[in-house]
C-alpha cells in the first residue's frame, strides 16, 4: 500500500514538473514563465520528495526529505517573488494588457540585455581619468558660497561638454503673469507678535533641482520681484546620492546635471531688479536647503517632484524614486511657509484652505491671503475650524474682496480632500503635508491624493 502511495506521489510530482517545464518553455514573457516554474515546480519537487520519503521508509531518510520539502516550500516562493520583482524593475518585457505595477515600482525603460549592449550614456562618455582628475581639482577649489555670477563656474567646470552641446532652446523667460500688489490695510487679527503675522516675506529660497529647474526658478524670481525681496537659489550636490551611486563617474554626471540646472536657472532669473544669490554646496540637502529661522521670514519654494540627484539616473532605482519624499522633510524643517510650485495652469482663481482648527493653519491662511501670492477671487474653506476663526477668515476675505465659501461636506471619494470637480483651483493651503508624506504612495501622485487631477500650488505651514 505504501509502495503504491509512494509511486503515485512520484508519478504525479513528475507530471507537475513536466508541466512546469512546458510552461517555462512555452509561455510568452518572463513573468508567466516564472509563474509556471515557481508554483508547479515547488509542488512537483515536493511530491517527488514525499514519494521518495515514503518509499525509503527509514527515519533519517524521511527526516531529510521532509526538511527538504519544508525548505523548498519556504524558499521557492521567496525566490520567485525576488526574481519577478527584479525582472519587473529591470524592465523585462511585459505581455499583459496593462501594467498593474505602474507607479508602484520603478521600472527601467529597456530590458537589461538591451542596456548592456547600448553604448554608455553621454555625460560620462569622455575619457574617465581626465574627467575624474578635473572634478577633484574643482572640488578643492570650489568656494563654499559664491555670488551669483561666479557660482556657475565650479559646477560646470568638469562637465563643460554636455553644457556646451546643449542648445539654449527657450531664450526669453516667460514674462511675469501677474503678481498683485500687497494689500495695504492693517488688520486686527491673530497673535501680532508672531513673525508670520504680518503679510509678505523677506526672501524667497528655492533649490536648484534638475532636470527641470527653469519653471521653479522663474516662479521664484517672479515671487521675489513682486515684493522686491532677494531670491536665494541653492544648488546642492547630494552627497548621499553620490555615495549610494553604483557607477564610478557618478559625481561627474551629477555635476553635469546640476550645471545644466544652474544654467537654466541663470537664464530665467534675469538681472538687476532684486538681489539674487546662488549658493553651491556639497552635502545634505535637508540641512542646506531649509531656511534658518522664523525671524528671517523666508518663503521656501519647492518643486512637487524631484530631488538633488538632478535627474541623473544612476542610483538604485527604488531609492531614487523615494528620494523625492525628502521634499516633505525640507518643508517640515523649514521655518516658515513652504510653497510647492504647481506644474499645471490654474483654471479658476480660487484657493482651498484646509483648516484643522489649529493656530498654525489659521496663521498660514491669513498670511497667504494678505500676502497675495495668487490673484484670487474666491476662497473655499474646508475642515472644522473654530467659529471665531471662520469669522476672522471671512472678514479677511471680505476686506480683500474675495468671495468666501465654507464647505462642510466635501463629497470626496476615498481619502481625497475634494472631488475632481475642484481640480482647477489655483492653490491648496494646509498646515501639515498630506499623509503619508510620500510623493508617490501606492501609485498615486501626492497631489492627486488632495484633489484628483490637481496640479496647482500647495502651501504648507
Amino acid at each position: 500500500m505504501t509502495a503504491l502511495l509512494a509511486l503515485s506521489a512520484k508519478i504525479v510530482g513528475t507530471m507537475f514538473l513536466v508541466v512546469a517545464s512546458l510552461g517555462v518553455l512555452r509561455f510568452a514573457d518572463p513573468f508567466q514563465r516564472m509563474h509556471a516554474a515557481t508554483k508547479a515546480g515547488t509542488l512537483g519537487a515536493g511530491l517527488v520528495l514525499l514519494g521518495a520519503a515514503i518509499a525509503k521508509g527509514s527515519f533519517d531518510a524521511t527526516l531529510v526529505a521532509l526538511l527538504t520539502i519544508v525548505f523548498l516550500i519556504a524558499s521557492m516562493p521567496v525566490a520567485g517573488h525576488l526574481l519577478g520583482r527584479a525582472a519587473y524593475i529591470s524592465g523585462a518585457p511585459l505581455r499583459s494588457r496593462r501594467d498593474a505595477l505602474a507607479g508602484v515600482l520603478p521600472r527601467m525603460a529597456a530590458p537589461l540585455e538591451a542596456r548592456l549592449d547600448a553604448p554608455p550614456p553621454r555625460p560620462s562618455a569622455g575619457p574617465e581619468i581626465s574627467a575624474f582628475a578635473a572634478s577633484e581639482l574643482v572640488r578643492e577649489a570650489a568656494p563654499r558660497q559664491l555670488p551669483a555670477a561666479a557660482a556657475i563656474a565650479p559646477a560646470s567646470g568638469p562637465a563643460a561638454e554636455p553644457v556646451e552641446v546643449r542648445e539654449p532652446v527657450q531664450e526669453a523667460p516667460p514674462a511675469p503673469v501677474f503678481e498683485p500688489p500687497a494689500p495695504v490695510f492693517e488688520p486686527e487679527v491673530v497673535a501680532a507678535t508672531h513673525p508670520w503675522a504680518a503679510p509678505g516675506y523677506a526672501a524667497v529660497r528655492f533649490p536648484v533641482i534638475g532636470p527641470d529647474a527653469a519653471p521653479l526658478a522663474s516662479r521664484a524670481w517672479r515671487l521675489a520681484v513682486a515684493r522686491e525681496v532677494p531670491a536665494i537659489g541653492i544648488a546642492v550636490l547630494d552627497t548621499t546620492c553620490v555615495e549610494t551611486a553604483r557607477i564610478p563617474a557618478a559625481t561627474d554626471r551629477m555635476r553635469a546635471c546640476l550645471a545644466t540646472a544652474v544654467a537654466d536657472t541663470r537664464r530665467v532669473t534675469g538681472t538687476g531688479r532684486v538681489p539674487f544669490t546662488l549658493i553651491y554646496e556639497d552635502g545634505d540637502p535637508s540641512v542646506l536647503i531649509p531656511g534658518p529661522d522664523d525671524a528671517a521670514r523666508e518663503l521656501l519654494l519647492l518643486p512637487t517632484d524631484g530631488w538633488c540627484h538632478h535627474g541623473a539616473q544612476f542610483t538604485f532605482p527604488v531609492y531614487e524614486d523615494r528620494m523625492a519624499d525628502k521634499l516633505f522633510t525640507l518643508a517640515a524643517r523649514h521655518a516658515g511657509p513652504t510653497l510647492f510650485a504647481g506644474t499645471g495652469t490654474p483654471e479658476e482663481p480660487r484657493a482651498v484652505i484646509v483648516h484643522d482648527g489649529s493656530e498654525r493653519a489659521h496663521r498660514l491662511a491669513i498670511w497667504a491671503l494678505r500676502t497675495g501670492i495668487w490673484a484670487l477671487r474666491e476662497v473655499t474653506l474646508i475642515g472644522r475650524p473654530q467659529p471665531a476663526q471662520v469669522a476672522d477668515l471671512e472678514a479677511t476675505a471680505a476686506r480683500l474682496g474675495l468671495a468666501f465659501d465654507h464647505l462642510t461636506k466635501t463629497n470626496a471619494l476615498f481619502s481625497a480632500l475634494l472631488p475632481r470637480l475642484h481640480a482647477g483651483v489655483t492653490a491648496v493651503l494646509m498646515a501639515e503635508p498630506p499623509q503619508p508624506a510620500r510623493i508617490n504612495a501606492y501609485g498615486t501622485f501626492w497631489q492627486d491624493r488632495l484633489i484628483p487631477g490637481f496640479r496647482g500650488d500647495v502651501l504648507i505651514a
Partner: protein
Amino acid sequence: MIDSIRQSLAEAASVVTDPAAIASLDALVSTIAVVLLVILTLALAGAALRMILGPGHADRFIALDMLTGLAVAACALTAVTTGRREFLDVGLGLALIAFLATIAFAAFLERKERSSS
C-alpha cells in the same frame, strides 16, 4: 463487464497482500523510478532550452530557478533507484545553495543598469 472489474480488483488485492507480489512490485517501483527519471530529463531539457534560448536575462534566471526544483526531484528519484539515501542529502544541499544563487541573480538583475565600462 462487472465480473471482469471484480476479478481485476481481486487481483489487485492479492498483489497488495501477497509477499511475492510485493517483492515484484518493489522491482517494478525501481523500474518506474528509472522511467520517471527519463521523463524528468525531458523536463530538464525543456528548462535548459529556455535557458539557452533566452531571450532575456530574466528568462535565463527563471529557467535556472526551475532547474533547481528539477534537480532536487532527480536526486530524490536517484535515491529510490539506487537505494542510497545520501542522494536525499545531496538534494537538500542543492536546494539550499540554489536558493542563494537565485537571490544573487535577482539582485544582479535588479541593480545592474548598464555595462560598467
